[in-house]
Amino acid sequence: MAVDRFPIEAGHIMMFARSAGDPNPIYYDVDHAGSSEVGRIIAPPTFVQAAAQFDPDYPLRPKIGQPWFGSGREPSGAAGGGGGQRDSASAPPGGGVGRGLHAEQHFEYHRPLGVGDVLSVTTRPGATWEKEGRRAGRLTFAETITEYRNQDGDLVVTARSVGVRTERAAAS
């Protein structure tokens, strides 16, 4: 994923916090946030994951005028029905199309992140390794390192995610 411009917006933070069931007013109440130690509405700890919204090529969002592999008239909108798995190699670890699942996620926070910041996002591949799983067959792990920098070019968050691809559905 490469995102040139990920503006940190109040409404987006409010919706993200709501979706996680987090009622903390630091995520929506300007007056509360303004008088707090951090001084403004800030991003929740995992918020940078929502950079996907600003990635024009993010594969796990339906795009205008393009086929989507979720169900419609048929269980899958992709040709052949099993198309969800077709894209798994290109899917980011956070996504997990088909047999790809998110195994690990790690964040390092270098600077505060809040409304008004504008991030740019770059990713690079990390290590890959394999393991034999009991239920899901051979497991292939791949690491991705993502750097989030602010409008001044300063590193704000570093993320390391590990995605795993399995041979079979691993419903626990």
């Binding site: 979706s19 069931g21 995992t46 979720g70 699942l101 998110h102 390092e108």
Partner: protein, 140 residues
């Protein structure tokens, strides 16, 4: 309000329920906010009939976001310096999750006081769904 190093002992535990009877709609709500609309999380027909799962299931990152709520409620806003872990089991609609932070160490790093935490989230059957660590800046 932030935690104070002098009040924090190794082994101290902070526990918080983060969701009760997780609804499919909350998973969809997280999809909308995060931008990850993977049908495995948002589309019961696809998840069951195409991908072969018993139902849709939560994004790992939703579990982590809910676990993060426990952490910020514990250490205060803007105090985390690190947070990470493994998704150790899937989270399904109907699950009830409790997130726990256990103080592993309290140390001074230069002029700052830092807490190292073990982080764990379990479901209603006691099955661990997320296991990791976090670090946070403390007041003295």
């Amino acid at each position: 309000m932030a935690l104070r190093a002098r009040d924090l002992e190794v082994g101290a535990v902070f526990e918080e329920p983060v969701v009760e009877d997780l609804k499919r709609t909350q998973i969809v709500q997280y999809a909308g906010a995060s931008g990850d609309y993977n049908p495995l999380h948002t589309d019961e027909v696809f998840a069951t009939r195409v991908a072969g799962y018993p139902s849709v299931f939560a994004h790992g990152m939703l579990t982590m976001a809910m676990t993060g709520r426990m952490l910020t409620d514990f250490v205060g806003d803007g105090r985390l310096t690190g947070f990470g872990g493994r998704f150790t089991a899937q989270v399904w609609p109907g699950d009830t999750l409790v997130a726990t932070a256990t103080v592993a160490a309290v140390r001074e790093q230069g002029t700052e006081h830092v807490a190292e935490l073990h982080v764990r989230t379990v479901n209603q059957d006691g099955v661990e769904v997320f296991s990791g660590t976090a670090t946070a800046r403390l007041d003295p």
